[in-house]
């Protein structure tokens, strides 16, 4: 990648960041909501974890990562809106006619949501941990590794969804549905051990399962980088699959229908 390409990607990232900062409300809400919901879920999770013989569980061990994973998947909307609003503002064709190459435009659209996802995860873990007494016995680098793999997976899932959806309404419906379905199947709403029998065999097919497995390894089992290697690799595998879907189905010349 030459200097010109890096410079253009940096311009696209700065531009996307300016647009995000013009309207920070969605990010703030997506960060505060999980903190609020943890308060409601904590007693339930405390009971469930103690029933699973987790000594001295406060409930935050499940509530904090669970809500963090679920609300990270709501960021898929952010990825999608970044593309659809360009169509709504009629700037997509201007970008296509500019000096930015297609790959640079996609890269520029991925970086800011990735940063937002990492920021959201960090705030939710730090504030959630402080507010609800999260006692983590594993290593922080392992937690960061799982978080980074999850963030990448969510952003690339968003790009894949953008490739497949023609209207922003479709994107919003599928993004929200996926966030809830993944949360339910993946063990973000209930401890993995408490999943219903019909859901347990399906759980590994959703990325949130592997994110929760990785977070649980660190938070509940005191695991380090080696313990989260499998979940991280699987999340990166999901990311690669979503990136492939994007490359196969994303067409720069396709018209998308935004809100209007």
């Amino acid at each position: 990648m030459n200097e010109g390409a890096l410079g253009r990607i940096a311009s696209l990232v700065r531009h996307d960041l300016r647009l995000q900062l013009r309207d920070p409300a969605p990010l703030i809400v997506r960060t505060l909501m999980p903190l609020l919901l943890m308060g409601f879920m904590q007693p339930l999770f405390r009971t469930a974890l103690r029933a699973d013989r987790v000594e001295g569980a406060t409930g935050a061990e499940q509530a904090v990562p669970g809500m963090a994973v679920m609300f990270t998947f709501f960021l898929v909307n952010l990825v999608g809106f970044g593309v659809f609003r360009e169509h709504g503002w009629r700037t997509w064709d201007r970008l296509r006619a500019s000096l930015a190459r297609p790959g640079e435009i996609v890269a520029g659209r991925v970086v800011v949501p990735l940063g937002m996802a990492m920021l959201q995860l960090t705030v939710v873990f730090v504030l959630g941990g402080l507010l609800y007494d999260l006692r983590m016995s594993g290593s922080w680098p392992a937690l960061v590794a799982v978080g980074a793999a999850l963030a990448l997976c969510v952003v690339l899932f968003g790009m894949a969804l953008v490739s497949l959806c023609r209207t922003i309404s479709q994107l919003a419906v599928f993004a929200n549905l996926a966030a809830l379905l993944f949360a339910g199947l993946g063990g973000a709403l209930t401890p993995l051990s408490s999943l219903p029998s019909w859901a347990s065999p399906l759980a590994p097919v959703v990325p949130s399962y592997w994110a929760m497995r990785g977070f649980n390894s660190v938070v509940l089992d005191g695991g380090g980088l080696a313990a989260v290697a499998l979940p991280v690799v699987v999340l990166l595998g999901f990311s690669a699959a979503f990136a492939t879907l994007t490359m196969v189905f994303f067409r720069f010349e396709h018209r998308k229908v935004s809100w209007s």
Partner: protein
């Protein structure tokens, strides 16, 4: 030269130039399923030349510009932007051309400065060079005092100026302006026309699509007329007026135009009867005499001198009404 064989360039100046044309289209054809949007279109634009691209809605103007900009691929034919093929080398072609599309495309939440800055940075400008370029573009477009304002708060005409400015940030050698004055105020129109003249004087080739024939006359450029996807006329304004610009007496009646035998060719179109004559101001009294009893239904008489309007009518067979074109615009 006939209507069916329009030449590609405006005249001998371009032919003797010997340099690479800013734009060269050869046999460009584009189909959307069963609809042929462009059919075997040839067009040359020399550096520093202004070409008024005219045609009714659906004639293929926007398709032509989109193909040149690399947004669409032609089904047949070749396109060269200063010798570069936008299909095989889109990046190279885009470095040489600027496109201000027909539909307003700006970032409403950002300031004027940030809208312009974004495209300057994409063009490779950095640091002070960006600020200098923004000032250079803002001044002639009357945007200097608006640079700190959010685009969403600007009037339609001001937004149109920002939209045009974004296409100029990389100092393109070929500028494609697709109906740049649609729906703008008089001040914006004048500023844009002045900018186009100044850029052409500086060597930029400009392809200017518009619904307003007087703008093309005011720019004193050459003209290319598309009709149903075909290039039906191409030349300088003077050449086209000399070749196709009939003078006429145009009569408008309260009802349908009467069927009257005249010593000159006459064409009825609804309530209008157009009588083609060489010296309409001298022929008008004889035309009125020839009306006989129908003169009572006459509501208007207009002397039509050879103009772009009469050229357009002759080569397309239809009147060009800017208001109607804007109303029926998609």
């Amino acid at each position: 030269m006939t209507d069916t064989e329009p030449r590609t360039g405006p005249g001998p100046d371009t032919a003797s130039d010997g340099g690479v044309p800013a734009l060269a289209l050869r046999g460009v054809t584009k189909r959307y399923d069963a609809v042929t949007a462009l059919s075997d279109v040839d067009l040359d634009i020399a550096p520093g030349e202004i070409v008024g691209l005219l045609g009714h809605n659906g004639a293929g103007k926007t398709t032509l510009m989109s193909i040149v900009a690399g947004l669409l691929h032609p089904d047949a034919g070749s396109v060269r932007v200063l010798g570069v093929d936008p299909v095989s080398d889109p990046h190279g072609a885009r470095a040489r051309l600027g496109l201000a599309p027909q539909e307003l495309g700006v970032y409403p939440p950002l300031t004027v400065r940030h809208n312009l800055r974004f495209f300057a940075e994409l063009a490779g400008l950095r640091g002070r060079a960006v600020d200098r370029r923004i000032e250079e573009i803002a001044e002639p477009l009357g945007l200097t005092k608006l640079l700190g304002r959010q685009v969403a708060q600007l009037s339609g005409g001001e937004q149109r100026r920002v939209h045009t400015g974004m296409a100029l940030m990389h100092q393109p050698k070929l500028l494609l302006l697709d109906e740049p004055t649609a729906g703008v105020d008089v001040q914006t129109r004048e500023r844009l026309l002045e900018l186009v003249r100044a850029m052409a004087a500086g060597g930029t080739a400009i392809c200017y699509s518009t619904h307003y024939l007087p703008e093309v006359e005011a720019l004193d450029g050459s003209v290319a007329i598309l009709n149903a996807g075909r290039m039906v006329a191409r030349g300088t304004l003077k050449e086209l007026v000399r070749q196709h610009g009939d003078s006429a007496v145009e009569l408008t009646f309260s009802g349908s135009a009467p069927d009257i035998v005249m010593p000159w060719p006459a064409v009825a179109d609804g309530q209008t009867l157009r009588v083609t004559v060489d010296q309409p101001h001298l022929a008008a009294p004889r035309v009125l005499e020839a009306l006989g009893g129908s003169v009572g239904e006459l509501v208007n008489l207009r002397i039509v001198q050879p103009s772009l309007e009469s050229v357009f009518l002759q080569v397309t067979g239809r009147y060009y009404d800017a208001a109607v074109e804007e109303e029926t615009h998609e």
